[in-house]
Assembly symmetry: C2
Homo-oligomer: 394 residues x 2
């Protein structure tokens, strides 16, 4: 077992969770030597001697062999993680944005410097999804990975359906409860889910996707009519990233709200919980559910990475190094619900086929097949026109 001396960046919700988990862990101790924080005058729960305000103090400290990076700022995180790796320190991070934006470079750097970069806490909180993909499903061809990767939007969506409240009301409630940031953009516009999709795609299918390749649609355009429609049909609305293998060694991925039926595993994943469905050629459907947010659950995920380091664990990125190369494509038809305003809206999406059309005094919708590539091209148009779309279950 390697002796770990930790330099911690960030002492917010997750950082404090990690500290608590380390203190109360059974059978494992690793010492936090220094904690680098931004705000000099904030009240802290630990002795002042722990804290520093200059990242160089930690990065230059040769006794520190593990950097745990838990700050919000993705650019700053990138600079810290990169420097740490180049200095031969192992890194544990929970920063999905930083990872998703620099995945290939970080993979290369880590390999080049022979250190370990672990990030279980970056995706789906306390669900051991990356470890399971990397170590358990490593030799099985996966067909599909989908799920609920973002706790904030799931909390909001749950409340709109369960309590019959509007999206702005539910968002305000989520903010009051600490499940949503004061600027909720990254969550509600689907960026957070997208970053996690990119990370999970690497471990599930071996591909390094670029965020701009993927269609992403959040939940900000959700209106009362859409909630009513879903409720009447017995659906719930979930923001569901999907990564799917297609014929001819192709793969597609996208983030979209979805109407889910009671028979879907994700139907019962409510509030701030996350859920992942992993479909393998041999094992069929596996379903994993756990807490997607919160100080301790995320802190525990970070702890599990730190603990793994003590045994010299590294992701092998096995699928990434396997022979099968999958090409990303948006040349896929998906069946969607579109709440629209005028015929131009429908024309823009160039439906391959419309199977249902409803017009009423309050709202109107169509259901039909569209090309994912068209959705990607029209994403900004949809947002600006406040049109709501949701994928229909097959």
């Amino acid at each position: 077992m390697n002796k770990l001396t930790i330099g911690l960046f960030g002492f917010g919700c997750v950082g404090q969770g990690l500290h608590y988990a380390l203190e109360h862990s059974t059978g494992f101790r690793a010492a936090i030597r220094r904690i680098c924080v931004k705000h000099r005058h904030k009240a802290r729960t630990l002795d002042a001697a722990y804290f520093c305000y200059d990242k160089a103090e930690i990065l230059a400290d040769e006794q520190i062999n593990v950097i745990v990076e838990l700050i919000d700022d993705a650019d700053e995180a990138y600079s810290i993680v990169k420097e740490a790796i180049c200095k031969g320190k192992h890194v544990v991070t929970a920063n999905k944005k930083m990872l998703a934006l620099h995945l290939q470079e970080l993979l290369d750097l880590q390999k080049q410097h022979g250190v370990s970069l672990l990030y279980e806490a970056s995706a789906c909180g306390s669900i051991p999804i990356i470890r399971s993909l990397e170590e358990y499903f490593d030799n099985e061809e996966l067909v599909k990975v989908s799920g609920i990767f973002n706790g904030t939007t799931n909390y909001i969506l749950t409340k709109t359906i369960a309590d019959g409240i509007t999206y702005p009301e539910a968002l305000a409630q989520a903010q009051a409860k600490g499940f949503a940031e004061s600027d909720p953009t990254s969550d509600v516009e689907g960026y957070d889910a997208l970053y996690k999709t990119v990370i999970i795609a690497l471990h599930a299918f071996g591909v390094v996707l670029r965020v701009e390749q993927l269609f992403r649609c959040g939940i900000t355009t959700l209106q009362q009519e859409d909630i009513t429609y879903a409720s009447e049909k017995g659906y719930k609305i979930k923001l569901t990233p999907t990564i799917k293998r297609l014929s001819g060694n192709r793969l597609t991925a996208y983030v979209i709200p979805r109407f889910v039926r009671p028979t879907n595993h994700l139907y019962k994943v409510d509030d701030e919980f996350n859920g992942v469905v992993v479909e393998g050629t041999f094992s069929g459907e596996q379903f994993l559910q756990g807490r997607g947010a919160g100080s301790l659950p995320t802190g525990a995920a970070v702890l599990s990475d730190v603990s793994a380091l003590s045994y010299g664990y590294q992701y092998e990125h096995k699928k990434h190094h396997q022979d099968t190369h999958l090409d990303f494509t948006n040349d896929v038809l998906i069946r969607i619900y579109l709440r629209y305003e005028n015929e131009e809206d429908i024309a823009r999406l160039a439906f391959e086929r419309i199977t249902e059309r409803y017009t009423g005094e309050k709202y109107q919708y169509v259901i039909g097949l569209v090309h994912l590539s068209t959705l990607l091209a029209q994403a900004e148009y949809l947002r600006q026109r406040h049109l709501f779309i949701a994928a229909m279950e097959q």
Copy 2:
């Protein structure tokens, strides 16, 4: 990566699944050198040259460095596994009975000979439960692990409620579909679930339990009245092993049918599926679901162990080697439903408190608190009298 040369024992459902999974695995190849089988004249799907009928031919083969043991007979499996370990070969097994009955000895032997003994496929089919407990929850104090560990009984119980058929009818259906053996005793009497409970308890709580310490109750005494009772109340009946930490570093475990409500994760785990709920102090409730039986799902679990061997993986049995020692106890009150015949039945269970009592012309039941130790003492009585008991949700 270590070169693996496999000697396989057994070529039934799981053995053939492993062979298929190995042949169709992405990025991983391990060679099966010999397969030892019992029946000389059975038609085989592989070339006859693969097969042998004397275990010594495989065990003495120095080129074989991995034994995969997938036979039914637990005594024979024990003898094979023991000899293999003593000869310095790594072992992968799916034999829960053999493991549960010899757990401590096998742990010691494995350590003594410095080989790896892996058995992911022994518990809950394609759910990576042992690996997750061992590698992800290793440093977190767990509160409870419960679930549906047996696919056969779950299939039967699902059919009784969903299709309103009797236990014997559902059993016959399960046998016709290949989900139940011609002698279903091990499944329906709860032995299979009990063995898995013992195995999971080791990795979740570090304890080596003896099967005879645990109260075990299967589903063979289930009658139409119990099914009606459950249906009317909106419950489903599930055979649910439970392992639970108690105050004062104590732990209890038992296997019992349970009435579960729709809010329970296990409610939706139907047919031959398994589900596990892992409750941690930090991470809260995690829920994992997957296929509990079948050639390919179980074969894939075996494959994941074989693949892990190629990276030199061993269970560290981390919780077992941690300081906290948990004492097993049956000194616990649980709330049960008892369908009884006469007052003697009730007297035998020495209820601490009876909270409900129903008497009708067709059947009668009481609901109340009993000591687990009393249930253990009266287990045989309950079976012989065909009384049905089920735990009530708290």
